[in-house]
Symmetry: D2
Subunit: 336 residues, 4 copies
């Protein structure tokens, strides 16, 4: 059994990692740390995990791989320290997703403390970067919105058949905002309410632009990305709008071909619903043509805390440890 750890297990992605790793048959969750709860049993902090008999430690123990679920900036330092100890890392924060250190000043308001690691980090969207992950010691786990947007758009961008004008309109459940309290995520305010936010530019936009650009640098894409908050706990539905160059025939087949053999991608024949991915590592993708305008519409659905968070982090971990990619990530959605 390989030993793994979680730095900061008490946020939503951290606790979801603990849930997934606890039932993983080939790794052992050996160490968890927290920022404020040192010495407490995990089950005291998170009653739904009381079967996991572990105490929150001040320092990371002996592990082969660790997930850092710290906030950005703080995470970079913890990741760097772990790497120096020879521990492989899947970083849940944004700290190693962007290649250009200046983007951290621009979008996250801090000077990156270990920018020399940015070049080495692999962006952990397994479906696009699978070949680089097994040999990597540092994987940057994608943001939840970029996961939904990139999987929806990658086939037509990679093939170069899409026009540069792209709209990404995403609808997210509230857990995407994390466990930190705020008025916008206070139940009585978020319930029975929908809002658009971050219209001045969301931090996930440079991530989307970087990865789409990397897939096909010649396209000069112009992406508008608007996230919306909807009154549910989990799930992201992403609606993408663009025009195709040339013929509109065979788009769905192109998507099927692009994702052939992918264990967690389903190109579906009817508009998907976020609930159909609840608790799973699946991404459902529905590409279609608006017959009246000829425009391409792609709808994707994920569980933001699994495929958009802890699940794909475990998917990367499996590859980094030489384990079967799907281990601990099977199972159908819990519906309704």
């Amino acid at each position: 059994m390989v030993k793994v750890g979680i730095i900061n297990a008490t946020g939503y992605i951290g606790m979801e990692l603990a849930r997934l790793l606890y039932r993983h048959p080939l790794v052992q969750l050996a160490s968890i740390t927290g920022r404020s709860a040192v010495g407490q049993r995990l089950g005291e902090l998170l009653p739904h995990l009381s079967d996991i008999d572990m105490v929150v430690q001040p320092e990371l123990g002996n592990v082969d791989l660790v997930f850092s679920a710290l906030p950005h900036k703080t995470s970079a330092e913890a990741v760097s320290a772990a790497l120096e100890r020879g521990i492989k890392v899947v970083d849940i924060s944004a700290d190693f997703r962007l290649k250009d250190a200046k983007d951290y000043e621009r979008w996250y308001d801090f000077v990156h403390p270990v920018s020399q690691l940015l070049g080495e980090a692999v962006y952990g969207l397994v479906e696009l970067n699978r070949s680089f992950i097994p040999s990597s010691r540092l994987v940057a786990n994608p943001g939840c919105y970029p996961t939904g947007a990139l999987l929806a758009l990658a086939p037509v961008v990679k093939e170069g058949i899409v026009e540069p004008e792209i709209i990404v309109d995403a609808k997210s459940g509230v857990s995407g905002a994390g466990r930190t309290l705020s008025l916008g995520t206070h139940f009585s305010e978020a319930n029975e309410n929908v809002s658009a936010y971050a219209l001045e530019g969301h931090r996930h936009l440079p991530e989307i632009n970087q990865e789409l650009g990397g897939l096909n640098p010649s396209l000069s894409l112009s992406v508008t990305f608007v996230p919306h908050l909807v009154p549910m706990s989990r799930g992201i539905l992403t609606s993408c709008y663009a025009r195709l160059k040339g013929g509109k025939e065979g788009v769905r087949e192109l998507y099927r071909e692009f994702y052939r053999g992918e264990p967690f991608i389903r190109v579906v024949d009817a508009p998907p619903q976020t609930k159909q991915t609840w608790g799973t590592n699946l991404c459902l993708i529905y590409p279609t043509i608006d017959t009246r305008t000829g425009r391409l519409i792609v709808i994707s659905c994920i569980d933001n805390l699994v495929k958009g968070g802890a699940g794909q982090a475990v998917q990367s971990m499996n590859l980094m440890l030489g384990l079967p990619e799907e281990t601990a990530l099977d199972g159908a959605a819990i519906y309704p």
Copy 2:
């Protein structure tokens, strides 16, 4: 007191009409009919309206104006009969919204029984058609989605400063689907779920195209409209995306000017939320420029059953009866 009636008061818009008319100081709700509940007290059918001491009648009584909240096709016949009796009509159904009778065959699968009335009917989006309503005997109340989309787009379309490529991504509460039972609106299926639907073409699209075209026939707009279902009872948030011709300065001022003096439109300085319109006849509109791409984004919020339904129907009625437009439509949103 002017006497008014409601044909089919037991759907969501019908019951909302009854609520608004009951507290209207200048009209008397004098007759309600239903399809299946003849002879029952309104309060038996709809306990929240038990203070309204009325019985559902088989035939419309003596009234000066009637709201028809019947389903499409059935409504056209009832409307025609009322007009023949000299009764003014606000039709809640889609039966008089489209000008081209063939659109009813194409989008609603029926041959319009009184197509000669289509030319006469006024599309009841008061903010765009106010001058035609006082003298009309037949007003077609707009659909909920078109209300949100048209109010968001009218200023730039009318001014002719928008490029023809327009995306309308709308998010609606479940009451928009009406009171008729279906699996998609069954609580356990709709709760904790978001979905896109009608991707092959929603019936509100021809209505949006017709009215935008009417505002500015020279633009040759190409609109993609995708509605989404979100887990709340009321509210529509509409996100519109387009490019502007020429300069991007002063868009918000243009909207403010366009809607100056409108009693129910608020051009706001921060992204609005549907909950801020809950129970009101307001439409909140937030136009902004995506600074990275130069694209126009307009967000609008309404209560789909009030401004998107019963409220604007009463607004039209007030004008048709020569009453102050805001009567019975005042009051702030009930929040949270």
Copy 3:
């Protein structure tokens, strides 16, 4: 026009007071104060109230009556100061609900600073204390849970026909916990969740016991009260269980008689739902006998922020100012 003010208008009951008072035809909302937002426009703080053109002031202006919506302990001092200025007060906090000053030490952990006023304060459950309110200068607005419980139980307690063993199981929407942030009211935690809380004793219990005891001191009631949090914004459904002395016939008639003429009480013939009171000052009460055990069951429903908060505060104000009791409190529930 009588001038009234609100101390601390930015909590849920404060903002609901502002909404109700704004459309009150016989009083003028003349002054609002806040704890942290002095100098800001109300509409900046609470966009749904942006039609109310007022600025939050540091000190209460010249008013005839004021609502104090401060937290407990702080409110007592503000109330005392207002009374000294000759201003009538409806206190929303708990600070004048309990008659025994020691109860504040026991249940609220503070020594009451103006306990000499406790005897004078009238408990503002109008249906039980209507005769004392017009001449009072200090009304203690009841807690939300006591409102639902007392109205459900008053008839059988007053008549002395109930056995002393009483269970009160209440289910509340999340707004009852106020606008202060906490993990338990964080959307993702409260959504899709039900919990019981305060099993060691909720602060509304002494209030229930005091008022039931006052109705009939001879009964020596033994009340267990357990509140539950349910995933909705508004509404309290209270389920009460007790045994009746003697015959079980005619209970509903007894309730009808007890509440005859009450403008806001509806004794109903079918189990009520909280949604049927949404946005109204109504209390729906359904008393019934469990035929298999002979036990009395009483279900009551209120909107916790209206009848359980701002609405009954306005109801008391109307009486204190000699205005018709129902002014500004009419209108049917907004449903669905």
Copy 4:
């Protein structure tokens, strides 16, 4: 691999059975039948189960054990037919839960067609009847409400230390009402709403009375059971109120002792929440004493579709097939 089948897999418990059985390592889901969907792929009917490559069959194939998820009355006949073919049965319906055939006429309005089997059927609440299940060929899976109530009350009833007056106030998510459409489970009506129902007597009451009586016939219990609908998809929280005979010390220890070694029962030290059981076969139980009145309060939480449905059916199946009881039922709650 033992072969098992599901009769009527398209209701909520049927689909949850399919989900659990699909990942069961020791049985093979070999046959599913439906009432209206014969010939369709399971994934067409239930997209979240599209990984299960099975077609709905008109007749049950060759299996060793079958779950009947048919409605009551219809199920009795299907169960009888299966038993005649030598197939073991876990019946999800109510048809074999009650021992007295007359109860079916009284509570379910039908004459039981195979009442001779009632004596043989084992009530499948494993924690109370474990010893009878391995040798049984017919297990009646308990109702969701009885599961929550019986597990909460069994220790004090079995020990004979509870007074006969018992109140059971249960709060259920909407999926408990099944997948059949109704106005009460229409999203816009059930959302933002709480209601009590079946106050004239719910069908789960005789089941609760029978099983509590069976645990301790001498107690002559008088149980009032009131179910409530709350706006969430899954979960039941049951609040039980009673008085204890004699001392109140050590109640929690008594519960701990009673359920020692039970794999799916957790006697907890803080009030539990339904969300802590989401997707699991766990029952969380919190017994406490209301110190002011000396009354016993017991709160229990389950996922109504797992421990209150498909999960405990699989738990019984495991025992009937000689497999480890917990197989396919492990895993922590999915939270939030």
